[in-house]
Symmetry: D2
Subunit: 178 residues, 4 copies
Amino acid sequence: MDKTALIVIDMINTYDHKDAELLLPSATAVVPVLTTLLGRARERGAPVVYVNDNFGEWRSHHGELLDRALAGPHADLVDPVRPDARSLFVLKARHSIFFETPLTYLLHEQGIRRLVLCGQVTEQCVLYSALDAHIRHFEVIVPRDAVAHIHQDLAEAALLMMERNMGAHVCASRDLWR
Amino acid sequence: MDKTALIVIDMINTYDHKDAELLLPSATAVVPVLTTLLGRARERGAPVVYVNDNFGEWRSHHGELLDRALAGPHADLVDPVRPDARSLFVLKARHSIFFETPLTYLLHEQGIRRLVLCGQVTEQCVLYSALDAHIRHFEVIVPRDAVAHIHQDLAEAALLMMERNMGAHVCASRDLWR
Amino acid sequence: MDKTALIVIDMINTYDHKDAELLLPSATAVVPVLTTLLGRARERGAPVVYVNDNFGEWRSHHGELLDRALAGPHADLVDPVRPDARSLFVLKARHSIFFETPLTYLLHEQGIRRLVLCGQVTEQCVLYSALDAHIRHFEVIVPRDAVAHIHQDLAEAALLMMERNMGAHVCASRDLWR
Amino acid sequence: MDKTALIVIDMINTYDHKDAELLLPSATAVVPVLTTLLGRARERGAPVVYVNDNFGEWRSHHGELLDRALAGPHADLVDPVRPDARSLFVLKARHSIFFETPLTYLLHEQGIRRLVLCGQVTEQCVLYSALDAHIRHFEVIVPRDAVAHIHQDLAEAALLMMERNMGAHVCASRDLWR
């Protein structure tokens, strides 16, 4: 799969926000899956782009965000999936990875047309980002075991919406970068 | 309710697109509800903004779109909810009412901060538009009997997402502009 | 020149705005040049896109704008350059042809990569549109005899900026679609 | 002046790009002026927002950009105007400070309506940013001794354009935060 990027959404996280307790079990299950997927993507030289909330911190850059997350009580969910020296990084202020960020520009510039969306939250940022990617004519792949949810029922509906209405390919992470 | 606009999404329609057959029963139920709501909003002087797909027609304006829809086999679903002389009109090219349209600009310019989203399709354009409105800090109200769906299950999930994750107020149309 | 569109900026105009008196001599000189250029572009089947201010009228479409301009005292400046049945039309609310309009989407969708910018005002909308086109990686051509100015000195500087800093090709209209 | 932010454009710079030789004399003159202005703004508690090119480095954050600039031959032009612990920071990929950046969102969120634009280059990024600020209805102030140019003639024209066509207030830096 060339021209395909792995997009890691909101995994640099202190997990101290509203609903974090509901998210933690799912995030805990996703981290090892995503770790494996990151390893395979990096091995193949696929571009990895972290797109992460700035948590209202307009000063923050990925170093600061990462340091804070690694200093928190849930460092074990952050350390395995941290950016490496080649990772690209885009800060977002709101839900969608595309809203007022340079992501469209970055992806076009690098000739990336296909996005593997991973991270959290399935029925929120992942869903919204899948929509915004589809609107912009990117091809979207969502490995269902590499996205974490808060509400199981909404997550199931979100995956169905992505598949049925946004042309996304929902698959298992083991099918990617094999 | 001042500073509140009624937003009518994709109701100027020939209903000859994919999935139209699935949409028609729901749209048929929505038209009289929306007609009443339009009447009440107009009576109170609330701004009414039609935001409608251009159906790939970059020449089209609302006159042409309306003429075509009124000449089609489903004119009875279009005629009762047609724009009047005071209606505003914004063409969109993709799903969300905000994507590459002047809608944000128009709403800010007119001091409108609260949007009543009506029309179709609940689990598609209405959902996406509710999200994009929320991201832009508009207050969103969705009268559940004034939005039409293709798939009942996804529509239910969409309304739940709007309420739980996008801060939308989901209500009955009879509660608006009473 | 394939994949090249002729972009006609703000020529559907009643010329009753501030500074119109300063603009009229230049616009009067540009109209016959643009008429010839429109003829040659249409003959070759090049797409012609009118991008025009909505003059604050959110109801307006190109029919209404055109009718009003043709009913005004400067109809002679509008009639020769009016849209024909194949012309595309995009309404803008602010200076740049790209600001909160679907123009980027339309151009990408039609595979258009090169823009010939004509119309008015050289040191305002034409300059801003050239910049926004350059930022979006479109190739820009500006026929200097087909753009109208309010202030000669600023127009000269604007053309120099387009050429030197925005990678635009400034030429004579007779060199296009020969 | 409350609700006014000092915007520092592209001053974190290695000055090894095309035209840097032409820019250096003007930048050298601007640095002490901007240093004084920064001091006064910080003393008054005015928000200071650095908006800086990422120089094609999608990994970069302000720490990395700053380190690189301070390690280069023109560290003396960067050190006096470096961000402090309260400075906000926005990366841009293209000329305008608003193009695909979260700046509009940040400014609205912080209630900032008036922008003092400083830095470089007068007839390029400063001009384009003044335009994009004006289009978005921000009030713009440009202290003419705190902006650096490459070409004197175009810079003069650019300042005239900002004043005449973009409603900007062009002044002397000594008149700000007195």
